[in-house]
Subunit: 663 residues, 2 copies
């Protein structure tokens, strides 16, 4: 088969998830963590090939984003004190809605439950109408659903009213955006209860998804495991700005584990409690969101699923260039658009199937209240479309709340070419009166007053005018404090400013590496049509866990020296490889290896001893060519690391009549 | 200065820790985490140069160990259920001794307190005897101690009896090995109390160092953040063995964060609550601890501090080859010795000063009870000798306890060339009686009996003989169960075995990456003798955060095109670099850069525009050479990545008369 034919097979075949998982677990890409102890849901370990694949994906990410754009990488702690996440809003808002079954004690995640129940009813309706087009596909889908351990065990063929079908479909298109109250109403209206017993459940209540712990021996410092790497980057903003010689725009980046205490995680690697993230915080001028390199990406064509389309209950994407999308204001600004295009390019580089990638805009009720715009890079898997990358304009929210809380400035200062006149509220203190009145607390009171924001000064000025005094509280001093016009003067004055000061906005591309990796597993998995028992993981060579399988034809001792010699050549070229001298048939060894996704095989035979030539096999096409070890390794290097195609990379090598691939 | 002279300056100079920290923080190698919020002790963030340095160290580690020895890398979760760490012994034993001051509520770590107080008294004694040799060095040392925020604020010049001095010194040499009770006795005997108030403290009690959390919404699954990566590797043993085609010896490896809830962490990056570890678990036959590559390392000369030397109260190391150390049984076996030598080589590669490295053997009371032998790779810093790498023979302990707890085999099965006769305890069940007696519990009872160990079978056989019945309990079944000889037969039988089954032993090299990094910072730091205000971090080029500073002589626009052109060449060669076109003096830019440890500078001047030549500057010697950009970049590549010396790498380039380095 040609590369194009193989691609078609992979893109169109329905994934048999059970087979894929058998391969991934059998070859130890991953395994449930602690399964010797019965396992803990939502926790997985990566074995050697999974670990190597992950390291390669991270390496590509680092080069594609951090090195290419000169980003400032930081590594911040996962342990995070309560106060920080209280300020960021996570303590109050980072939660999912859970419903408890009063009788059984079972706990359900409300949105997932509604989704599953309505989907099952729609399916039952289709069955009742005799509308299930493809019995095989449906069986496969059922199978996949079953593996997801759905709560809905049985689907009953019950016909629904036409307008109920329409209502269900509209709800499902908006399922990510409902509040707890709305979910409760839906459950009541559509009679969604415990899918096994049919009993109704308690109303949804918020469950905070952060893992809590106590820091230090006294146990008094509450802390959480971070739910994202972003906060660490925001808190270091001043240091990063200084490191960047006070110039903006610039971006910081961080790669590390984050944690979410999911209510009842299923869906394998897609919903886990501990996961690897890679996040970028791009700090820029709120008045200028253009991007100097936007022209380089503007012709990138992508599938968009805008807010309005979803509101209309549709999932039909719009294909257009990112240039067009920004021009028409579908995507809010150039920098957001630039990153969307760069995200797409990264995903394609590591093996995402272009036909299974789309960018979905957040709906108004789904987006954080402070966000200016937000797009999710979604990948299609057997679990449906999965959010794998978020790309949000977080505006100035985070820096502002941390600055307000800590009373420390988190701003950019820009020298103005021409000074400007601005009106500004200012406060003057009659300091000599503060000592006698407040004694040791005087410095605290002064600091509080001098740190009031413009809005606060304006309000206090009005209060002073109206009441001839102001009343306020200061952290660390008990009770209300009062001051009159003898102590303070608050006025709006016209000032000439030579420096512009602003809180930068933040564009945040945020990658769930585990979800991306799992999606690439699905997009890369196929079975050879000539022998459906033989599975292949067609990873791009750049990210494949190992690049070469070195296969001596037999374990005859005469083949050992040349095997050692070629191993040495590969090691010198820093090309990761494995030797398989197990002695089973070549076909079997390659079949095993195709499941590991190793793109190249080098076969060493008795002719190799005489003339130094070896055979190179390509995983997907099973094509073979012959040449000297040096030339073969050169071709591997070019194809793997320099993006050269197989045909181009092997054009000077002799075609080789294939040994049988029969296992 | 020559390279040798610089090395001497660096090795012998007393580190001025305050200056070093000012550089490290000023250049954002690291910063206290959450300092916007006042900070949390024991938590630090790495900024861009620290992060890059760490990534490079990890990269070297991965190549030096994992790739070179074909280890199986895994990535396991940090969240760990209670049961696992109960079995491993961490729940009961992973603790430090803390003492509370009943009056003030202050908490002290007992061993550190004893150490500090006795050290302070010894110092006071020296002062009283007029024995402080070097007033400057002493002032510096005091300064360093102060920065450590010692509890002991003041040192009083009080002469001690000669035998008390000797006792103190002996205690200090053994300080890591005392139990809580012993520490309490020492505190009583030597009157060690709150160093400020002098009041005595509560007796030491154990404080478990693991961070606890709850997994899942019901909060019923207790969990911890892992204190080491090792347990995840042990639990995956069977999968790893299978992945390795059931062959031993083999090693797994893991790089990731671990957590320890330190009592009152000080000492900066050396004692933190969240830290990066790299651990290897080498599984091998307990009857054969030889290593096939030992010959390659046997001549490596190292400084050893054996157990007996420490017991005698001395800290004078013994220098010998690792071959000699294994031969004389100073080091227990070849594999342990092989790893000690490889650890040393790794440390030297990333910039550890050979004169500040030693291997200290654990004392009997300090070593885990199951360990066969244990050596710490220690590095000398201004805080004293610091344990940075542990290299322990953990015997079969971990696999055995997990296997016993989970009743699952964790063994290697080895086909025997000649079968052997062995005596074995076996149990036969009269199965037809089990159903009627135990009903639904029958399978549980049967599984319990069939999983009894050899020792348990022997004991049960004796019990049966003595009492005509056995009494036992089974998990999940209430109360005692009884069986007599009608149900079971237990006999010792002679069997012919074709397979040998054994629990492998484990050699564990375990690296605290953060401590190693900090030690390299200290070992790399020095001031130019001609201008002591100018600090340099002389990192080996291989691990330096950035390799090249690209410096256009001025920010004249004519220099921009060639700067861009050379940037492109460097990017194509994948050499990390930074451009500094800030326009301040060349000397200032290089001085700033020396603090970042960048090994090379490329200066672009107006001659570069004409003939394409540029100047290459070496950080330590400030030597300069001139050549074409291609040749210069070639030299940088050879020196950085292929271990070529400066003299060798630049021998074809023309020496260049240095521009002034004056800042």
């Amino acid at each position: 088969m040609s590369a194009a034919e193989i691609k078609m097979v992979r893109s169109t075949a329905e994934i048999n998830r059970e087979n894929l998982e058998a391969v991934l677990r059998g070859r130890f890409f991953y395994a449930p963590a602690f399964d010797l102890y019965g396992g803990v849901s939502g926790l997985y370990d990566y074995g050697p090939p999974g670990c190597a694949f992950q390291a390669n994906v991270i390496d590509v990410w680092r080069k594609h984003f951090i090195l290419e754009e000169d980003m400032l990488e930081v590594d911040c702690t996962m342990l995070t004190p309560f106060e920080v996440l209280k300020t960021s809003g996570h303590v109050d808002k980072f939660s999912d809605w859970m419903c408890r079954d009063f009788n059984t004690g079972e706990i359900f995640r409300a949105d997932h439950l509604v989704e599953e129940v309505l989907e099952a009813r729609l399916k039952g309706d289709k069955e009742a109408r005799g509308l299930l087009e493809d019995a095989n596909a449906s069986a496969q889908e059922d199978n996949n659903k079953k593996k997801r351990k759905n709560k809905v065990k049985q689907i009953k063929a019950v016909k629904l009213e036409d307008d109920v079908v329409k209502e269900y479909e509209e709800i499902l298109a908006k399922i990510d955006g409902y509040s707890g109250e709305e979910l409760g109403q839906l459950m009541e209206k559509y009679n969604v209860g415990n899918p096994v017993t049919g009993e109704s459940l308690e109303a949804p209540r918020a469950f905070n998804l952060m893992f809590e712990t106590a820091i230090g021996p006294s146990g008094q410092l509450r802390g959480f495991l971070r739910p994202e790497t972003a906060q660490g980057q925001f808190l270091n903003f001043n240091k990063l700005l200084e490191f960047n010689n006070s110039k903006t725009p610039f971006a910081s980046a961080s790669i590390g584990k984050s944690f979410r205490n999911e209510i009842s995680p299923r869906a394998g690697l897609l919903r886990v409690r501990e996961f690897l993230m890679a996040e970028i915080e791009h700090f820029l001028d709120p008045e200028d969101k253009s991007h100097p390199r936007f022209a380089e990406v503007k012709d990138t064509k992508l599938s968009f699923l805008p807010r309005e389309v979803q509101q209309a209950g549709s999932t039909e994407p719009i294909v257009m260039s990112i240039g067009e999308a920004v021009k028409t204001k579908l995507v809010d600004n150039e920098t957001l658009g630039y990153f969307i295009a760069r995200i797409a390019k990264f995903l394609l580089t590591i093996g995402v199937d272009e036909t299974k990638m789309r960018f979905r805009q957040h709906m108004a009720n789904e987006m954080a209240h402070y966000a200016a715009d937000c797009w999710d890079g979604e990948l299609k898997t057997s679990y449906g479309w999965i959010e794998c990358v978020g790309c949000a304009d977080r505006s100035a929210y985070d820096l502002t709340v941390h600055s307000n809380k800590t009373k420390q400035k988190l701003v950019v200062r820009q020298k103005l070419d021409t000074p400007v006149e601005v009106k500004k509220w200012e406060i003057d203190l009659t300091k000599k009166l503060f000592g006698p009145k407040f004694r040791k607390d005087a410095p605290k009171v002064e600091a509080y007053l001098l740190n009031l924001s413009q809005a606060e000064l304006k309000a206090k000025s009005e209060e002073l005018k109206a009441n001839e005094k102001i009343i306020f509280q200061v952290d660390g001093i008990e009770g209300n404090l009062e001051l009159d016009g003898n102590f303070i003067t608050i006025e709006e004055r016209t000032k000439t400013e030579h420096v512009r000061e602003f809180v930068p906005n933040v564009i945040e591309p945020s990658f769930g590496i585990g979800r991306i990796i799992y999606s690439v597993f699905e997009h890369s998995f196929w079975n050879r049509p000539e022998d459906t028992a033989r599975s292949v993981l067609s990873f791009p060579p750049l990210v494949a866990p190992s690049k070469v399988l070195l296969v001596p034809l037999s374990n005859h001792k005469d083949l050992a020296p040349i095997t050692a010699q070629i191993s040495k050549l590969l090691r010198a070229e820093k090309i990761p490889f494995k030797v398989d001298d197990s002695g089973v048939s070549i076909g079997k060894r390659y079949a095993r290896n195709d499941e590991l996704g190793t793109p190249f095989g080098i076969t060493i035979d008795f002719a190799s001893i005489k003339d130094g030539s070896v055979t190179l096999r390509e995983r997907d096409s099973t094509k073979q060519v012959r040449g000297s070890a040096t030339d073969i390794i050169g071709a591997i290097r070019e194809i793997t690391y320099n993006g050269v195609s197989w045909d181009e990379g092997t054009k000077d090598l002799a075609p080789f009549v294939s040994q049988s691939e029969t296992v």
